[in-house]
């Protein structure tokens, strides 16, 4: 019996902001659209965003939103994309507002905005400290209203892609409930699978953020861009890494070391705590490395909000206060809390043009394949994302990818899929269920995460990266024998974690190779052995491709510059 083949105009993988925005757009244009997601749409990680979403709501601010983003990206962001997104940000936010997003308001009824790190004006629109939740609810509600078909708890594990014609024509997935395979055959395929920071030991991400989409494409020899750029957010809760949003610093939080020094004075005297994330994260890790950490293991620093009126904390940061109470047992209105840098956001990903069309090389594009959101690399964020720019990116480029699909669909032909094309994924699943080696999923994943934090984290060197490269090879060996303890077919979450781990091992290799070759420091990528930015050699995007043996080859492609010429990035 062959695997069932379901036919659609458009199949979208992922139901966060990017996937829902695209699906709504495609469905409303009359295309038969299905969204596959391993979680219920409302459980997507977009809902976890706390702090805000940027838009220059006052006309006069647009140019500086653009400049702040370019500068924040350490000039690796593509300026055509940045110019476009920042110009259209206000109408994007107002579109969300018209669809129902519950933004916090000023007294005159306009949308309120707050300051955020690395920004010259307060331009982060917010909904208390649950901005992502209202954005996700709204966009899902309206996609649902438009009649998009959502299939939740379906795990997508493979792409249907014909290399010779460079065409994508569907995906292979299985239902998490009963482990039943199905092929979703479509004219247009879009990935919106979110971020990959779960590869690190201390991270702020949901369990689901395992970057599956990236390696699904990479296993077909498609490139990944700028994977070495992973943002470490300065304020993760000690221990769990769970995020205390930038809003805490935006509202006036201060950082102190064990000597009670407001140490940001040394690193960014003018912006202080509101310097961009990479600068603050390095400052925190440096303080810890040099022995001025606090807490039982001396591996964190203090975040102090106690000088703020309790009312501000209660009205603007209630969620954050709750988090610190649950995970640290500390009330930030009354005492300082322990924080440390946490892997947070993935700048790199699936290379796309400004319409979400996926590139198969510097000059080529895959026919019928699109991507947007955190899994994509347009590139807006370059070497470092500005806070509150990524919700905007996911919605804006998600919608744009939807529009591109509508535009292209007339020229796209449905390449018929056949039932046996699910064999690769079902083979991967049976191998995992068959193996009976000594290692568990958890053991290998923990070793991967800890080693990535140690060797490819905030500070990197040639030696640490070489060590990590060799270590990844041993992890991959162990993985090939790993035992999945659950052999059942009903909600086999152990199997799902195993598949996800396989993806994490694959894309981690791109992070390490990219970081090793990039002998400079730029944005979130910091090489202790090459502490300066080197525009002559590296004002370029990394394109990595993987061959069937797992070996990765790198190429470089030029950054799209514009009116902002690279300057030193100081704050």
């Amino acid at each position: 019996m062959g695997t069932p083949v379901h036919k659609f105009d458009v199949v979208i993988v992922g139901a966060g902001l990017a996937g829902c925005a695209a699906a709504k757009t495609a469905q409303e244009a009359g295309l038969k659209t299905v969204v596959l997601t391993k979680l219920h749409p409302l459980r997507s990680h977009s809902g976890a965003a706390q702090g805000g979403i940027n838009a220059a709501l006052s006309e006069s601010d647009t140019a500086s939103h653009e400049f702040d983003t370019v500068k924040g990206s350490d000039y690796l962001g593509d300026q055509d994309a940045i110019e476009l997104m920042t110009r259209e940000a206000p109408q994007t936010i107002r579109w969300l507002e018209h669809m129902g997003a519950v933004f916090s308001r000023n007294d005159d009824g306009t949308i309120a905005q707050r300051p955020f790190g690395g920004q010259s004006h307060p331009r982060a629109c917010y909904a208390k400290d649950r901005t992502g939740l209202t954005c996700l609810q709204t966009i899902y509600e309206q996609a649902h209203r438009a009649g998009v078909q959502f299939l939740d708890e379906w795990y997508v594990g493979d792409l249907l892609y014909d290399k010779s014609s460079d065409q994508a024509y569907g995906v292979v997935a299985y239902s998490l409930k009963e482990t039943e395979f199905a092929i979703f055959n479509a004219k247009a395929v879009m990935f919106a699978t979110g971020g990959y920071a779960r590869a690190f030991g201390i991270n702020s991400n949901a369990h689901a953020n395992t970057g599956d989409g990236l390696s699904i494409l990479a296993r077909h020899g498609l490139p990944l861009e700028d994977m070495e750029f992973v943002q470490f957010h300065p304020t993760g809760l000690a221990g769990s890494g769970i995020l205390i949003s930038e809003a805490a610093r935006g509202e006036g939080g201060h950082l102190y070391n064990s000597e009670n020094e407001r140490f940001m004075e040394k690193y960014a005297p003018s912006k202080m705590e509101l310097a961009p994330r990479d600068v603050v994260s390095r400052a925190i890790e440096k303080e810890i490395l040099e022995g001025r950490g606090v807490g039982p293991n001396k591996d964190s620093v203090w975040l102090d909000l106690t000088h703020l009126p309790e009312e501000i904390i209660e009205t603007r940061l209630p969620e954050l206060r709750d988090l610190a109470i649950t995970f640290l047992g500390r009330d930030m209105a009354k005492e300082r809390i322990l924080i440390r840098a946490t892997a947070h956001y993935s700048m790199g990903g699936i290379p796309t043009d400004i319409d979400g069309r996926v590139r198969s090389g510097a000059e080529r594009k895959v026919s019928g394949l699109y991507a947007a959101g955190e899994c994509a690399c347009v590139s807006i964020h370059g070497a470092n994302r500005l806070g509150a720019n990524s919700l905007l990116e996911a919605i804006f480029f998600g919608r744009r990818a939807g529009e591109a699909i509508v535009q292209d669909i007339g020229q796209l032909e449905l390449r018929e899929a056949i039932g046996t094309e699910s064999d690769r994924l079902s083979g991967e699943v049976s191998a995992l269920l068959r193996n009976n080696g000594p290692d568990t999923v958890h053991a290998i994943r923990t070793d991967l995460q800890q080693s990535m934090t140690r060797n490819a984290g905030v500070f990197r060197t040639r030696a640490s990266l070489l060590e990590q490269k060799a270590y990844l090879a041993t992890l991959r060996d162990r993985f090939s024998q790993m035992r999945v303890g659950d052999k059942s077919k009903l909600y086999n979450t152990d199997l799902q974690e195993a598949l996800e781990l396989g993806h994490m091992l694959d894309f981690s290799a791109f992070i390490v190779e990219g970081a090793l070759a990039r002998e400079e420091s730029r944005g979130a990528h910091y090489r202790e052995d090459f502490p300066e930015r080197n525009d002559e050699r590296f004002l370029q995007h990394t394109f990595g491709t993987m061959d069937p043996s797992g070996k990765i080859a790198l190429e470089y492609t030029p950054v799209t510059l514009g009116r902002h010429t690279p300057q030193a990035r100081t704050y």
Binding site: Q91, E97, V102, T138, D322, G329, H442, L490
Partner: protein
Amino acid sequence: MYEKREMTFRVFRFNAQSDYLPAYKRYDLTVSKEEVMLDVLNRIKWEQDPTLSYRRSCRHGICGSCGIKVNGRAIVACKENVWQLAELYGEEMVIEPQDTRLAYKDLIIDKSRFWESYRAVTPWLEGPVEEKPQKEHLIEPNYAEQIDEADHCIQCGSCFYSCPAAAVNEAYLGPAALALAYRFSTDVRDKSHANRLRAVNEPGSGIWDCVKCVECSETCPKGVEPLSKIFALHNQTFEAGVHKRNVATRHAVVFKRSIEKHGPLDEAENVRYSEGSLGALRHMREAFAMLRRGKLPLPGRVHKSHNHSEVKTLIQSASKNKF
């Protein structure tokens, strides 16, 4: 930070494909002070028994995946500190799915009825959406605030699977969906208030089938307080004039009368007046559950409030609607 505690967890285990009956399996764990219930589940799965299945994603109480029950109480596992639970329940706890009758595998249940209720309340803002708006709607903070946290719902289902009315009445929409209906019927931008109110006003499924036990508001991890939204919907239906004279509205009338007369509610008399004595028999199961929890005084034994005269004045001044 180094304090540890030995604890025992008895976990509901079941596979609907292969098991005839569920079993409770025991796991012993050393738990530190910072750990939440989801850490316990993860550690059982990762360190002791990889077959244990449960839903989870965000791990900080915002995605709504990890709803379970501990000693019968609905919680969101990643939001509940284990030591704090131990204060209530001691060092041995029973972990179950939100509704054992709906279990597929271990803690994963069939939530289709919950999502059907969600879909039944037209869960989106109705009205035209301008594609490229140059201006937002102007909504002053006090209007925006009227939504009153109803938009904070993460669809965890804690309330729904604790609601006695939903448990006995298949048609009842339940607290989360009704809170969502309120979220839209209170949004000044929504163009469909009257339809929404008519929909939640239906006897059997709507706001009048709530027995006001407060369970939902007590269990909600996000401060949505569904019951307060249900009350507000009662008022909105009267204000909009969409209420019909039925069991339900009679219930509202007697509700008011009871408070005027005694202060506290005479729940038993309410049901008798609204549904007639025979109708009241249908609610015996809920009644016994409420009696056990001390939420229902025996008929005829309703105490008067201390400030009963004040309550009366309050009612008179708050009654905007003629019953």
